[in-house]
C-alpha cells in the first residue's frame, strides 16, 4: 500500500485535469470562502474548530457542575439550573464536540487517504456543516427562554420532558437538524469511500481510519433516523395529544427508553470507532512497524458495530424487563468485550518489538489504550445485570462513560490533531507544550474521574446538585482534578493557534513511520486541491 508510482509527488497544484467550469486552485478570499466552500479541507477545518468551541462550552458547563459538587450544600446554582447544566453538557459534548470532531477528521482524511480529489458531494458536505450552526443556536439558546434549558438529562426521558418548557422543543428540533446533518454527512462519506477510491486502492488496502469511518457512517444512517422518530413522538406527546409514552392512553414511558437506546448504544460506538481508527494510524507510525492483524481489526470493528444493535437493553436493567430480556442483553453486551479485546491486543502486538519513540500523539495514543481499557472494564462490570442494579445511575456509570468518552474518544481526537496538524497546517507544533498538555491531562483526568468509581460504589446517584456527607471527600478531589484537566486544555488551544500562526515548517513526512497517502504522496503544506489526478496505488 505504501508504494505508489504516480508522477507527481510534488502535488497536484499544477494539474489542470479538472472541469473547465471552475479554474482556480487556491481558496477564494474573504469570509465567503468559508461559507460557500465546497472544499473538504475547509469543511474539515470548520468542523474541527466548531467542535473545539463546543468542547470549551460543554467543558465550561462541566466545570460548573464540578464547582457545585465541590462540597455538600447548594453554593452556586438552583437545582433546576444544575439539571440543565448536566443535560446540556451531555448534549453539547456528544452532538457538538465529539461527533463533529470525528466528522472533521473524516473530511480531512478520507479523500486524502483513498486518493480522491474531494468528497462525493461537496455542496451537501458544506450543508452538513452549516446545519450544525442552527442546531447549536437552538441548543444553547434554550438557556435563555422562560423555564431554562432542558433539564431531563441528555436521555430526554418522558414524562419528565413532557412537563418541561419551550426549551425542550428547541432541543428536539436541534436534534432533528443534527440528525439531518449526520445522515447527509454519512451518505457522503460512504459514497466517497465506496466510489471514489484511487485506482488500486482496494477496500482491504484502505487505512484503518477509513474503514472505521465507513462502518461508523453505516451506524449513523441506521440510528439517527430512529432518534428522529423517537423525539418526534416526544414532540407529538407534548403538543398534539398522542399517547406513545403515556400509560393512561395505553402507551409506555419505557417504550421511549427502548427506542432511545436503540439509537443510544450504537451512538456511543459512533463516538469510539473513529477513535479506534485514529489510534490504528498512530501506533504503527511511532512503532515503525505495520499494524498487527489488519484484517482482524476490520472484522472486529464490523462485529462491534453489528453487536451494538442488540445490546441497548443494558441501559434499562432497572426498568423491570422480564428476566429473559435482562439476560439476553447481558450476554450480548458481554460479547462485545471479545472484538474490543482483539483490538486492544492487536494494538499491543503492534507496539511489541517495534522501534518506538514517544512524541505527543504517541503519548496520547498510549494514554488512550490504558484508560479506554479501564473504561471498557467498568462497562463490563455494568453489563452484569445484578451488579448494574447497584450501580445504575450512580457515579460509577459517570466514571465509566468518561473513561471511554474523554480518555477514549477525546484523547484519540487530541492525538489525531497532534498527529495531522503538521500535515494540515504545514507547521510543526511545540513538542514541549504538547508533552506538558499530555501529563497534565493524564493527572487531571484520572484525579477527576477515578474517584467517581468509588462514589458510585458507595451509592451516590448521578444528576444531583447536592449530596450526603460521606461523599464529600472524593467529590472534592474529583472537582480539583476536573479543573486541572479543564485548564490544561487551554495549553492545547494555545499550542494549536501558535502552530498555525508561527510554527516551524513541517516536513512532507513528519512522522517517518506514517505510510498513508497523505504522507507519502503529498507535499507539506498541501495544495488546496489534492489528487486532482488520482494516484495509482499498488
Amino acid at each position: 500500500m505504501s508504494t505508489a508510482s504516480h508522477t507527481h509527488v510534488s502535488g497536484a497544484l499544477d494539474d489542470h485535469g479538472h472541469a473547465e467550469a471552475h479554474d482556480h486552485h487556491g481558496p477564494p478570499a474573504g469570509f465567503t470562502r468559508w461559507m460557500y466552500t465546497t472544499n473538504h479541507k475547509d469543511i474539515g477545518t470548520m468542523y474541527l474548530w466548531f467542535a473545539f468551541f463546543m468542547f470549551l462550552l460543554g467543558g465550561t458547563m462541566a466545570l460548573g457542575i464540578r464547582a457545585e459538587l465541590f462540597k455538600p450544600g447548594l453554593q452556586f446554582f438552583d437545582p433546576e439550573f444544575f439539571n440543565s447544566l448536566t443535560t446540556v453538557h451531555g448534549l453539547v459534548m456528544v452532538f457538538g464536540a465529539i461527533m463533529p470532531a470525528f466528522v472533521g477528521f473524516a473530511n480531512w482524511l478520507v479523500p486524502l487517504q483513498i486518493g480522491s480529489a474531494d468528497m462525493a458531494f461537496p455542496r451537501m458536505n458544506n450543508w452538513s456543516f452549516w446545519l450544525l450552526i442552527p442546531a447549536a443556536l437552538l441548543l444553547i439558546g434554550s438557556f435563555f427562554v422562560p423555564g431554562g434549558a432542558a433539564a431531563s438529562g441528555w436521555t430526554l426521558y418522558p414524562p419528565l420532558v413532557i412537563q418541561q418548557g419551550i426549551s425542550v422543543d428547541m432541543t428536539i428540533l436541534a436534534v432533528h437538524i443534527l440528525g439531518a446533518s449526520s445522515i447527509m454527512g454519512s451518505i457522503n462519506i460512504i459514497t466517497t469511500i465506496l466510489n471514489m477510491r484511487a485506482p488500486g486502492m482496494t477496500l482491504m488496502k484502505m487505512p484503518l481510519f477509513v474503514w472505521t469511518w465507513l462502518i461508523t457512517a453505516y451506524l449513523l444512517i441506521a440510528v439517527m433516523p430512529v432518534l428522529a422518530g423517537a423525539v418526534t413522538m416526544l414532540l407529538t406527546d407534548r403538543h398534539f395529544g398522542t399517547s406513545f409514552f403515556n400509560a393512561a392512553g395505553g402507551g409506555d414511558p419505557t417504550m421511549f427508553l427502548h427506542i432511545f437506546w436503540f439509537f443510544g448504544h450504537p451512538e456511543v460506538y459512533i463516538m469510539i470507532l473513529p477513535a479506534f481508527g485514529i489510534i490504528s494510524q498512530i501506533l504503527p507510525a511511532f512503532a515503525r512497524k505495520p499494524l498487527f492483524g489488519y484484517a482482524s481489526m476490520v472484522y472486529a470493528t464490523a462485529s462491534i458495530a453489528i453487536l451494538s444493535f442488540i445490546v441497548w437493553g443494558h441501559h434499562m436493567f432497572t426498568v423491570g424487563m422480564p428476566a429473559a430480556g435482562n439476560l439476553f442483553f447481558m450476554y450480548a453486551t458481554m460479547l462485545i468485550a471479545v472484538p474490543t479485546g482483539v483490538k486492544v491486543f492487536n494494538w499491543i502486538a503492534t507496539m511489541w518489538k517495534g522501534e518506538m519513540t514517544f512524541e505527543t500523539p504517541m503519548l496520547f495514543a498510549i494514554g488512550f489504550l490504558c484508560l479506554f481499557t479501564i473504561g471498557g472494564f467498568s462497562g463490563l462490570v455494568l453489563a452484569i445485570v445484578p451488579v448494574d442494579i447497584t450501580l445504575h445511575n450512580t457515579y460509577y456509570v459517570v466514571a465509566h462513560f468518561h473513561y471511554v468518552l474523554v480518555s477514549g474518544a477525546l484523547f484519540a481526537i487530541i492525538a489525531g490533531i497532534y498527529f495531522w496538524l503538521p500535515k494540515w497546517s504545514g507547521k510543526m507544533y511545540n513538542e514541549g507544550l504538547g508533552k506538558l498538555h499530555f501529563w497534565l491531562s493524564m493527572i487531571g483526568f484520572n484525579l477527576a474521574f477515578f474517584p467517581q468509581h468509588f462514589l458510585g460504589l458507595a451509592g451516590m446517584p448521578r444528576r444531583i446538585p447536592d449530596y450526603a456527607l460521606q461523599f464529600a471527600e472524593w467529590n472534592m478531589w474529583s472537582s480539583i482534578g476536573a479543573f486541572i484537566f479543564g485548564f490544561s486544555q487551554l495549553i492545547f488551544l494555545y499550542n494549536v493557534i501558535a502552530t498555525i500562526r508561527s510554527g516551524k515548517p513541517a516536513e512532507q513526512k513528519q512522522w517517518e513511520g506514517a505510510d498513508s497517502l497523505e504522507w507519502t504522496h503529498l507535499p507539506t503544506p498541501m495544495p488546496y486541491h489534492t489528487f486532482v489526478t488520482p494516484p495509482i496505488v499498488r
Binding site: 479538472h18 451518505i187 459514497t191 477510491r197 413522538m233 400509560a247
Partner: protein, 283 residues
C-alpha cells in the same frame, strides 16, 4: 464494488445554497417552536423559513439539473448518486422502523402489561385488547376497517408502481410520449391516493371518533399513516418535477438518474404502504 476513480472529478464551485438552507431551517425551527407554544408570531419566522427553503430547493436542484444536462457528470458521479439515493432511502426505512417498532411494542408489551394482574392495582377495570385507547377514561371509538378505502388505496399504489415502471421502460426506449403518459398516470394515481386518505381521515374524525389523541391506537395509526401520506406527497411532488423535465426534453435513454431516483423513492413509499396495510389496518 471495486469501482475506482477515473480522472475528471467535477469540482463543484462554491455555493451559497447550503448556508441558505441552514438559515431556512433555523427560521422554520424557531417558528415551529413558537407556534407549538402558542405564540402566534411564530408564523412569521416559520413562513420565512418555508419560503427560504423552497427557494433553496429550487435554486439548488436547478443548479444540479443544469450541471447534469450540461454533461458535467460522468459515469462516476452517476454512480455516486445511486449510492447516495440508496442510503437515503435506507435512512427513511429506519425512520419508519421507529414508528413500526412503537406499534409493535404497544401491541405486544405495553397494552398487555397494563391489563395484567399486577396492574389491576392501578387500572382495575382495564381489559387488554387491540385496538385500545388505554385504561384512563378511554373514549368510544372504532378502528378503521381495512377492506374499504385502505384496500382501494393499496390497489392504487400498486398500480402506480406499475405505471412508473412503464414510464421507465418507455424512457429507456426513447419513447417520450409513453414516458410522459406513464408519469402522468402515476401522478394521478398518487393524487387520488392522497385524496382518499384525506377522506378517510375525515371519516375517522367525524364518524369513528378516531383521533390523533385517541390513545396509543390513534397515535400509532395517525403517525404511521400520516408520515406515509407526507412521503407520498413528497413523492408526487418529485414526480411532477420529473414530468416537467420530461416534457422539457430532459433525460436520455442511458442517462436519467433523476428519473430513477424518484421511481426508487416511489417504490419505497409503496412498500411502506404494504406494511402499513398489513400491520395497521388489517391485523
Amino acid at each position: 464494488m471495486e469501482q475506482t476513480q477515473p480522472t475528471g472529478y467535477y469540482f463543484a464551485p462554491p455555493s451559497h445554497w447550503p448556508v441558505v438552507g441552514s438559515i431556512a431551517l433555523f427560521f422554520m425551527a424557531s417558528g415551529g417552536v413558537l407556534l407549538m407554544n402558542s405564540y402566534g408570531v411564530g408564523w412569521i419566522p416559520f413562513g420565512i423559513g418555508i419560503f427560504t427553503l423552497v427557494y433553496m430547493l429550487f435554486g439548488w436542484f436547478g443548479t444540479v439539473i443544469r450541471e447534469s444536462e450540461g454533461g458535467l457528470f460522468n459515469a462516476q458521479v452517476d454512480h455516486s448518486f445511486r449510492w447516495a439515493m440508496s442510503w437515503f432511502i435506507f435512512s427513511e426505512v429506519m425512520f419508519f422502523a421507529a414508528f413500526f417498532g412503537a406499534l409493535w411494542y404497544a401491541r405486544q408489551y405495553s397494552v398487555p402489561w397494563l391489563g395484567d394482574l399486577d396492574n389491576k392495582l392501578l387500572w382495575p377495570d382495564f381489559a387488554a385488547h387491540w385496538p385500545t385507547a388505554g385504561p384512563y377514561r378511554p373514549p368510544e371509538f372504532s378502528a378503521m376497517h381495512a377492506w374499504g378505502i385502505p384496500a382501494i388505496n393499496t390497489l392504487l399504489l400498486l398500480s402506480s408502481g406499475v405505471t412508473v415502471t412503464w414510464a421507465h421502460w418507455a424512457l429507456k426506449k426513447g419513447d417520450r410520449s409513453n414516458l410522459i403518459f406513464g408519469l402522468a398516470l402515476t401522478i394521478i394515481l398518487g393524487v387520488t391516493f392522497i385524496t382518499l386518505q384525506a377522506i378517510e381521515y375525515g371519516h375517522a374524525y367525524s364518524e369513528l371518533n378516531l383521533k390523533l389523541s385517541t390513545g396509543v391506537f390513534g397515535s400509532t395509526f395517525f403517525m404511521l399513516t400520516g408520515f406515509h401520506g407526507f412521503h407520498v406527497t413528497l413523492g408526487v411532488t418529485m414526480l411532477i418535477v420529473i414530468l416537467f423535465r420530461s416534457v422539457a426534453g430532459h433525460f436520455k435513454p442511458d442517462h436519467h438518474f433523476g428519473f430513477e431516483a424518484v421511481s426508487w423513492y416511489w417504490h419505497f413509499v409503496d412498500v411502506v404502504w404494504l406494511l402499513l396495510f398489513v400491520f395497521v389496518y388489517w391485523l
